[in-house]
Amino acid sequence: MKEKVFQVVSQVFGVQIDELREDSSPDTIQAWDSLKHMNLVLALEEEFGVRFSDEKIMQMLSVGLITEAVQELMP
């Protein structure tokens, strides 16, 4: 699951998977702005078949936080 999160982040922001870490965030990835964050959320929801709350969307601002958010929603 974690691998898939990394893959989605990599595809959406156009960065190599091996450049990503748990603490990768808008501060470390140049393409990760509020608009691209929306692309990321929509992509994650499709890949994992989940739907985040609006509050969660605003909070999931690192690869680690995203992984946690997905885990919470997976059965």
């Binding site: 595809q11 929306m38 692309n39 929509l42 992509a43 499709e46 969307i57 605003m58």
Partner: protein, 600 residues
């Protein structure tokens, strides 16, 4: 093309192979956040060989951009303008507090919005002649007056409908401008899945991922025909596609086909295919069957809606489908790129996808015949910007073509065969009736075209009225029927030189000397206008290799090659006015007779 997820699409787009494709510049005027649509648009563009880039107006700056050229994104280089104006951000009153408005306020808002539409549209057109696709206002999902609203002429639903009618009329008054049917997208996706209230509140982005995907598909139903990439031919498997079961095993009486379940799914599917036929889609069969079994169903089954006369070509045998599809393309003189192939077998689908990637392959899901009709109706592969009389008769024309091929096999020599066709050529200047078809031909023709220049209705209109250009078309009739408007030549005059800006023929009239007769007539015209020479160009594309020697084989001298474009010159003074002798009649009004000339 297999469906990719939103994430996969963005991954694909990161690969740099797109950079080499020709650009397709899209300006997006909007009063909502809609940036996440870009990957879908870019991926669809990639499939038609373009590198699409969106330039977004600043948020809610539609008027400033259209009328004031604020950011300068509408300029001469733009290929397409998309307009997304959501009523909620344009008139909170009409969208959200309709029930509390006095009638005069409603009228006032309507007038304000109409004036806004007019100014924005005029503003866009002052800056660019590019394709405009403007999303209609979405109808209210929960009208403000509840169930009463729909009953009332003055209700919110009626109000939005009136604005949409105004928008449609306003766009129709311009060339190359269309309403993008967002209400159709909304209906197909369903309101619950169309909107994303989270992102509406977080960032004024109203549409869900599913909505953005559907809207992008809708946009490309317009762009594909504009780029000549719409499909023309639907190739069908037979068993478990046109009917349920296998006719070779179950026999005529055993297959599922009828007005009631389970045969009704196949009947409805056939009706949808027939509707495509009447829109000008060419139908063909490609099936592993004994041919006689299939034709027996076509002839004898009482619930068969498709008839043999609807089928332009058929490969009913036990060869592989790749070979058979190639044969159908050759028989019909159509490129495989214009084919959609429907089959229920994953094996056949996989094979065609692997060896003929240019064919759009659609696997009909096993055991889900009840969905076939929706699948073929939803494709949008065959959409054209207009449906002409030509389109409606295309099926008959292709059948006639097949009959010609048969005669050709019987005829001994080529000239004798041509003569036996009793061909009558009609060559005329463009007029208001022919302009839409001429523009359509420039947009759709990929193979027999020397320069592949695409023109809109408006541009053809302008050229046809110009003193320094002639837009000429040809129509062909023979003993098997009419081929209709199937050739275009655009001549531009510069001093005593005539430039052959465009010279193209539809594939369905190739191989019978029409191009020679047409060129002679057009050159006679240039000579009559007093030109000393004519310049022909060959602009190579991936598709038009067959015409690379067209000019050099016809006494044009190569003079230069500029950026890959070959230029050829014909000395009109020395030009012999000989036409092929096998036409029954060539009826042209391009050149006045000498008597008329003397009188003038």
């Amino acid at each position: 093309m297999q469906r990719l997820s939103y994430s996969q699409i963005q991954g694909e787009l990161n690969a740099e192979r797109m950079a080499a494709l020709p650009p397709f510049r899209t300006a997006v005027l909007r009063n909502v956040v809609i940036e996440p649509i870009e990957p879908y648009l870019r991926y669809l563009a990639y499939q038609v060989g373009s590198n699409l880039r969106c330039e977004f107006s600043e948020y809610d700056n539609v008027f400033q951009e259209a009328v004031g050229g604020h950011k300068g994104i509408l300029n001469g280089h733009i290929d397409c303008v998309l307009v997304f104006i959501k009523l909620d951000n344009l008139s909170w009153d009409l969208a959200r507090r309709f029930a509390s408005l006095p009638p005069e306020r409603i009228e006032g808002e309507k007038e304000r919005i109409k004036a806004f539409i007019t100014s924005v549209l005029t503003g866009i057109r002052k800056q660019t002649a590019a394709l405009i696709l403007w999303g209609g206002f979405e109808l209210p999902i929960h009208p403000s007056l509840g169930i009463v609203d729909y009953q009332q002429k003055s209700g919110q639903t009626a109000c939005v409908t009136e604005l949409n009618q105004f928008l449609r009329d306003a766009l129709q008054a311009h060339k190359n401008a269309y309403v993008l049917d967002l209400n159709g997208c909304l209906a197909r996706v369903g309101a619950k899945n169309f909107y994303d209230p989270r992102y509406w509140h977080i960032g004024k982005a109203p549409y869900s991922r599913e909505a953005l995907e559907e809207i992008s598909n809708e946009v490309f139903k317009y762009i594909r025909p504009l780029k000549g990439k719409n499909k023309k031919c639907l190739v069908l498997d037979c068993d478990n596609v046109l009917w349920g079961g296998i006719v070779g095993e179950e026999g005529l009486g055993g297959i599922k086909l009828g007005r009631t379940y389970p045969g009704s799914a196949y009947c409805e599917f056939q009706q949808e295919i027939l509707n495509l036929y009447h829109r000008g889609v060419v139908l063909a069969l490609c099936s592993k069957n004994n041919a006689e079994d299939v034709w027996e169903v076509f002839r004898q089954h009482p619930d068969m809606l498709l008839r043999k006369e609807h089928i332009a070509a058929a490969q009913l045998n036990w060869r592989d489908k790749v070979t058979n599809l190639r044969q159908i393309a050759a028989d019909l003189n159509l490129s495989l790129e214009s084919f959609v192939f429907l089959d229920d077998s994953p094996f056949e689908i996989g094979q065609v996808r692997q060896y003929l990637p240019e064919v759009e392959v659609v696997q009909l899901p096993l055991d889900r015949a009840v969905e076939y009709r929706d699948i073929v109706a939803a494709g949008g592969w065959f959409d054209t910007l207009t449906i002409s009389e030509e389109d409606k008769q295309r099926g008959a024309m292709y059948r006639a073509e097949a009959a010609r091929k048969e005669l050709q096999m019987q005829s001994q020599d080529l000239e004798g065969y041509y003569s036996s066709l009793e061909m009558v050529l009609e060559i005329r200047f463009a007029d208001q009736f022919s302009i839409p078809r001429i523009a359509q031909l420039t947009q759709k023709t990929n193979q027999f075209t020397l320069t592949t220049r695409r023109y809109s209705d408006a541009q053809i209109q302008e050229l046809s009225q110009s003193d320094s250009a002639d837009v000429i078309y040809l129509q062909l009739k023979d003993r098997f029927g009419e081929s209709g408007l199937t050739g275009v030549c655009i001549l531009k005059y510069d001093g005593d030189r005539a430039l052959i800006d465009s010279f193209l023929l539809s594939c369905r009239v190739l191989g019978r000397g029409v191009e020679d007769a047409f060129l002679v007539q057009c050159m006679n015209r240039a000579k009559w206008r007093g030109c000393a020479s004519a310049i022909g160009e060959y602009r190579p594309t991936a598709k038009n290799d067959q015409v690379k020697d067209f000019y050099s084989k016809r006494n044009f001298k190569p003079v230069a090659t500029v950026n890959g474009t070959g230029c050829f010159e014909l000395d009109l003074a020395a030009f012999e006015e000989t036409e092929p002798s096998f036409f029954k009649r060539i009826d042209s009004n391009l050149v006045k007779s000498r008597a008329e000339e003397r009188d003038a």
